[in-house]
């Protein structure tokens, strides 16, 4: 059966307080608290208001986390999302500058994202033999290529009428508007994954594709839906990115795909499929965001964050192997 918790760090039985704390999600909460202490100790400006104020520029890519989680649970991968963000943001800018009203601009952004996702999904189900890594490698280059051709030699475009985007960057009390949307998306996807037939089908497909097929699950339909969802969410990311950047260029969103996958994996979702849940990925995303904000405030060489994220990622994926090894040694004795 598909495990509830993505990464087991203890052999304790699956219920009870002890296992809840020792589950990976419990560990992530502790890591999150540790990061807060770390933040407060290195920077005098690290407090609730400031963190919330600086959050919006890191929030946009978290939208894609939920779609990527679905894709990874299926056992697939999508490395084209960064390019989809670039393409949809670019097209939205052009639509806005051509005089389209703001709701249309938003629709263009989401529509382009959805369309790109559907292209990925279509290719993934028509070329089933291929690893999805190769397919999305191709579309990654193509989507960014289209954006490059549209942007012409200048390589960048900025939004002329930013009134609508300003509205999106607004705050409700101390909270940025985008945070509400992130939480809303998280709730929707959490219900989708845990409480609907579709969500449980994803776990079944990820655990064993052939068995799922023989159990009557429309594997290819589910894959297509997941790719389309992720594409749509990349569009959402695009519009929220515009709300803090007011423009797009040829490198917009480059590297986002790996950051999103890293957040998922750090949150306990296995790339082999069928394992992990959204809670872990969600906490992991905010752990990374808070580390970024803390280091950014102290003006510490911001690239040091890369080393920290990389090290956390590798240690977290090595944990199960290490704990298994220790347990085996104990049993031998």
């Amino acid at each position: 059966m598909a495990g509830k918790s993505g990464r087991a760090i203890s052999a304790a039985p699956k219920d009870g307080l002890r296992s809840r704390i020792l589950s990976w999600e419990g560990a992530l909460v502790l890591i999150f608290l540790a990061v807060q202490i770390f933040g407060v100790s290195i920077s005098p400006n690290y407090n609730f208001t400031n963190v919330l104020r600086e959050m919006p520029k890191y929030l946009a890519e978290i939208f894609m986390l939920f779609g990527m989680a679905c894709i990874l649970i299926l056992g697939d991968i999508d490395i084209s999302v960064g390019s989809i963000v670039c393409l949809s943001a670019t097209m939205a800018c052009f639509a806005g500058n051509a005089g389209a009203p703001f709701p249309v601009v938003v629709l263009v952004c989401l529509g382009i994202g959805l369309l790109c996702g559907m292209v990925n999904g279509f290719l993934a189900i028509k070329l089933q033999e291929l690893p999805t890594m190769i397919i999305t490698l191709g579309t990654q280059i193509i989507f960014r290529g289209i954006a490059e051709v549209t942007l012409k030699s200048g390589g960048s475009v900025s939004m002329e009428d930013v009134a609508g985007l300003m509205q999106m960057g607004k705050k409700l009390g101390p909270f940025p508007l985008s945070l509400f949307f992130v939480v809303l998306t998280a709730v929707i996807f959490s219900v989708l994954l845990n409480r609907t037939v579709f969500g449980r089908e994803l776990y079944a497909v990820g655990a064993n594709k052939t068995a799922a097929y023989y159990a009557g699950i429309e594997v290819q339909k589910d894959r297509f839906i997941c790719y389309s969802l992720l594409g749509g969410l990349a569009g959402v990311c695009g519009i929220f990115l515009l709300a803090s950047l007011y423009g797009a260029n040829t490198t917009t969103g480059s590297g986002f795909e790996m950051e999103v996958i890293a957040m998922c994996v750090f949150g306990g979702i296995a790339t082999t499929g069928g394992k992990g849940n959204l809670t872990g990925a969600f906490i992991a995303a905010f752990v990374i965001v808070c580390i970024r904000i803390a280091l950014g405030q102290r003006n510490i060489n911001t690239q040091l964050i890369l080393v920290i994220i990389g090290a956390m990622l590798i240690i977290s994926v090595l944990l199960p192997t290490i704990s298994n090894g220790l347990r085996a040694k104990k049993q031998k004795r």
Binding site: I77, L123, L127, E129, L130, P131, M133, I134, I135, L137, G138, T139, Q140, I141, I142, F143, R144, G145, I146, E148, V149, K152, S153, S254, G255, M258, I261, A262, V265, A270, T271, T272, N301, Q303, L304, I305, L306, V307, I308, I309, G310, A311, L313, I314, V317, L318, T321, I322
Partner: protein
């Protein structure tokens, strides 16, 4: 041998069909732009793609074992940045020694990849993604917002500057060495064995974990050498060098017919795959297509090649099935 079997030989061998594609491509370009195959132009193509060509060999080893390595350009940046800084602060100016240092750094990084993947049983893409961040970050940290300019590496860049023989010699030596190793030595054949069937390889006495680790070590070694070479060719070292170019290397391998599931691929195919991308990129402006469409065309070619592969494989399977029924 009659003509039909010769034709079958060509269509059966992927490398031969790639040669065919390359010849047709060159013929078309040569007709549209007669000066394309001049010595100078060909030399430029090799020089501009030396790093991809070199790293593709390592990626061949990694992909043969069924893995993937996306940390290569970060290793390249870390090794290259070290080599650049050693010269900037006047520690060392010996070309050979600098290359050895670059290679050694790459080898260590690659071995770390290999150990985590083979011993820690971590998915290759996740492990190398982690190290991708770490080495790129380390390149930034050691550079401390400085970068080595052409003046700093003036002696070193004589080795790889336009017109010098250095890069070509390295490429030639690497390709000849790999051609022999992958074809006729135990070390090379083990990659194929492990990639085709891990269990069978284990039972026949191959140390699977060590073979997988070796593949990543070789990849790291080549990435390290590429780091030094990159500093030499472009006469500068920045922490963000070759950012995102790992996908170009993977694309070259995929076009060259290396299977991502492991066990299938050749040195000749790797070379041809890298050359097809390189030639198209160079030829686009010459035949009147805006250079800005380069990436678009590249992506379409990748998808076209891999889907063509799938369709021919399906046709072959169907044919075999038909034969069996008789």
């Amino acid at each position: 041998m009659n003509k039909k079997s010769f034709w079958k030989k060509i269509t059966d061998s992927r490398d031969a069909s790639l040669v065919l594609v390359l010849i047709v491509l060159l013929a078309v370009i040569e007709i549209l732009s007669p000066s394309f195959l001049s010595f100078n132009n060909v030399r430029q193509i090799f020089l501009n793609n030396a790093l991809t060509l070199l790293m593709a060999l390592g990626m061949l080893c990694v992909m043969l074992t069924g893995g993937i390595d996306i940390s290569i350009t970060s290793i390249l940046a870390f090794a290259g940045m070290t080599v650049g800084l050693l010269q900037k602060y006047d520690v060392l100016h010996n070309t050979l020694l600098l290359f050895v240092i670059g290679a050694a750094i790459g080898l260590c990084c690659g071995m770390l990849n290999g150990i985590v993947i083979a011993k820690g049983k971590v998915a290759p893409i996740i492990c190398t993604m982690g190290f991708m961040y770490i080495w790129r970050g380390m390149a930034y940290v050691i550079s401390n917002n400085a970068w080595a300019s052409g003046k700093d590496v003036s002696g070193f860049s004589d080795f790889g500057k336009d017109g010098a023989a250095g890069p070509y010699l390295i490429l030639l030596a690497a390709y000849i060495l790999f051609f022999i190793v992958m074809r006729w030595t135990r070390f090379g054949r083990r990659f194929y064995a492990v990639g085709s069937n891990k269990e069978a390889a284990r039972i026949s006495g191959i140390n699977v974990a060590r073979t997988i680790a070796a593949a990543y070590a070789v990849m790291g070694l080549l990435a390290g050498i590429s780091g030094a070479l990159s500093v030499s060719i472009y006469a500068s070292a920045q922490p963000n060098m070759q950012y995102g170019k790992e996908m170009d290397v993977i694309a070259a391998c995929v076009i060259g017919g290396i299977s991502m599931n492991g066990g299938r691929g050749s040195v000749a195919g790797t070379f041809l795959g890298a050359m097809i991308i390189a030639i198209i990129a160079k030829a686009l402006p010459l035949v009147g297509i805006d250079a800005i469409t380069q990436n678009l065309v590249k992506g379409i070619i990748i998808l076209a090649v891999v889907s063509l592969n799938v369709f021919t494989q399906r046709a072959i399977n169907r044919q075999n099935l038909g034969r069996r029924e008789i």
